[in-house]
Symmetry: C2
Subunit: 201 residues, 2 copies
Amino acid sequence: MVDSFERLPGIGPRTAQRLTFYLLRVPQELLDEFGEAVRDLKKQTVTCSLCYNVAEEDPCPICRDQNRNHGQILVVEEPLDILALEKTGRYKGVYHVLGGVIDPLNNIGPDEIRIKELLARISGIKHSGSAVISEIVLATDPDMEGEATAMFIANELRRRKGSEAQGYRVTRLGRGLPTGGDLEYADEVTLTQAIEGRREY
Amino acid sequence: MVDSFERLPGIGPRTAQRLTFYLLRVPQELLDEFGEAVRDLKKQTVTCSLCYNVAEEDPCPICRDQNRNHGQILVVEEPLDILALEKTGRYKGVYHVLGGVIDPLNNIGPDEIRIKELLARISGIKHSGSAVISEIVLATDPDMEGEATAMFIANELRRRKGSEAQGYRVTRLGRGLPTGGDLEYADEVTLTQAIEGRREY
């Protein structure tokens, strides 16, 4: 048990021991439940064939929701990003999970993440005529790899938009000062973007 | 010496001892220089009578710089905020230091910070005709007190703008994801602002 815990990210030998000794004091039915949850984890989750989110059904609840705007696709790196964005309750479109970012230093090129699938999905929607694509929101992380990946996808979209003469917006999540921060400790790039992105108040 | 160091913010007894023992090994001329710098600190700095920045001369170098736009005033809480913004090299206007924020819990009202001085400065510039005010950038911290202070000033400016029929923009620094962050760990308010403030890419 200690070894199993230790293999998890961020859990060292001491924590693994503490968790194991905690479980020793737990009733057997809770142990059965926990054990079953771990064993069946993969069996009970599937990857959504539309957006590649992790879900219990395919298509996932977001892709099946007819109250959402299926013409607005927000592109994220990982399923956890969707959880964070859903918590805001502010986004009413659908998603596309890339499953990573372009990262040449680690040998991850554009073909290793789901960019082809995104482009195919956009053309597919266009050709089936089931929804009109109005916006692609690039929401990869605001770090170097995320920026490079957003730029790569934007260029691909621009090239295709040109030939297919389709009008949809390509946007990027707003950048600037995070809530609760302190201006004096903000890094230069963030401050520059906050100055450039200032808005009428 | 240990006691003097300990009175500084963020320096505990151990660090105070370490710094003191370090100074014991330093040549006497460096000690003289350090001592003099500490003693003359207040004598050599003044508060700029235009923007209330801390400087060695009055007006401060920023207010004396004729290459800067004196019709664009960026309002900050503290002089340290100016240092951070100047490092970006992106802002070419002048500043106004409030010297704090409105904070009712600590009995700091609008009259305790330099809001009157800001309003007087704006009317003064207008009446002297030396520069045309084009923009007031509210750059208080993105926390609760900073937001409340920005809102208070914006309302004051709006009221006066109405009666004086003067056209200048009132803006706030851009909000959203800071650079190098991770979308999945961003708080809900920041993510909401990043979604609302998304820009064409």
